[in-house]
Symmetry: C2
Subunit: 244 residues, 2 copies
Amino acid sequence: MRQISQYLSVDCVLFGYNGSELEVLIVDRTLNDEKSGELVINDCTLTGNHVYEDEPIEEAANRVLFDLTGLDNVFLEQFKTFAHPNRLKRPNDQLWLKSTGRNPEARIITVGFYSLVATDKVKLQWKGRNVRWVPVSEVGELAFDHNLILEEALRTLQTRIKYEPITFELLPDKFTLTQLQNVYEAIWGIELDKRNFRKKVARMKYLIQLDEKQTGVAHKPARLYVFSRDVYDKTKKELFDFTI
Amino acid sequence: MRQISQYLSVDCVLFGYNGSELEVLIVDRTLNDEKSGELVINDCTLTGNHVYEDEPIEEAANRVLFDLTGLDNVFLEQFKTFAHPNRLKRPNDQLWLKSTGRNPEARIITVGFYSLVATDKVKLQWKGRNVRWVPVSEVGELAFDHNLILEEALRTLQTRIKYEPITFELLPDKFTLTQLQNVYEAIWGIELDKRNFRKKVARMKYLIQLDEKQTGVAHKPARLYVFSRDVYDKTKKELFDFTI
DNA sequence: TCATAAAGTGTAAAAATAACACTAAGTATA
DNA sequence: TATACTTAGTGTTATTTTTACACTTTATGA
């Protein structure tokens, strides 16, 4: 077995929620011709970066996230690795690899992570590149194999929220039950019954009702809730059910 | 960004079922000193292999599986990637890397797959190395970070069988309900109520009762069942439930 | 004070879960 | 050939969960 030519990177699919739709963080990728200055590449990618030598991949993913959002200790989970030898063989991707000094023949292994962030906690910034939230339903063609990566991340998210209380990560610390319901609806792309939804979450002990209400809304203000990780950690063993 | 020194491999956690316990395929790793002939390494690993240049990782995983079992089209799923820079820094692992001509300083990225095979369909063989089924509960210390990989694979399996009908992969084509129940019990390490279990599986349309019975057993013979992938594929959209 | 807008609430029928013990049907053997 | 052995196979009841469905409450703003 000989050493093969390859690189290691992480891609972070950052999901956000704008109050009505599920969004994902997208970065512009532009390249100007060295001589003519002409714009030769102008498309979009997910957020990602290479992994430093001797850097664990989880650390690399956290670094990408921190550089983008200034946030630390954010929900971040590895979901799949993409390493097909042809994943970056489209002309623009080859051009891009060359322009950044990489061997375009090499395999680039990327480990996919997804992350959930409450957009109101975040001020975006990234090395002067244009970063922005885009509704998942409006994401067009992305560079590399990033459409595939986004699809897989979304599928993972849709499944994961059925069994794990991670939707809170997309909301402000204090939120209303309607907001919580909206998050599920946005991720699954379906509508849920309000009364049945509330009956269900009423069973979640880790959802704590506050003595506070919404303010500044032109209608009956809603009660606010918080997610208690403590209560969740204490009770999650009981929650394990043997559904087959 | 410069090219870093690293390798890409796959590790396949092959789960089997022996009729009462969940088993995993384990390989001996031995190394003799070149001069003295003395046995310097004698431990065990999961089954895995490097990924060829230009080979997709799924293909590499299938290749490992095929070389071991002669089986093709077996259930095989990627579950996690392990790439910590120190994952192979124990003395025996360093020795092993050197002896196989690899730079022991390099990072070895391994993509973990797990697979379910009905042990009665399999005749083991692997490049003259000693391969054998070991009950998961009896697996001792493994080389590399393979105990961690096994743990993660098992955790994934325990979760996955709650929501997806993959336990059939561990059984002969025709199986009894008791055998099916035993598989769940072996994977979860708990006992289930027979009557309640049967009520539950009775709702699975893709579980087809045959007009056949067990033979050669010294007691009332059980009805045989098969899993119908066709029926499953047709109904699985309906099965998507919005449990939160 | 009235219009507007979302919050918040209950019931009944159907389905799923959980706990629990005996009879049936083969083989083996005395 | 009768009996022992062993696992297969089955039903009920109480509780919980799910599903479908519509009106009242409470704040703001005009």
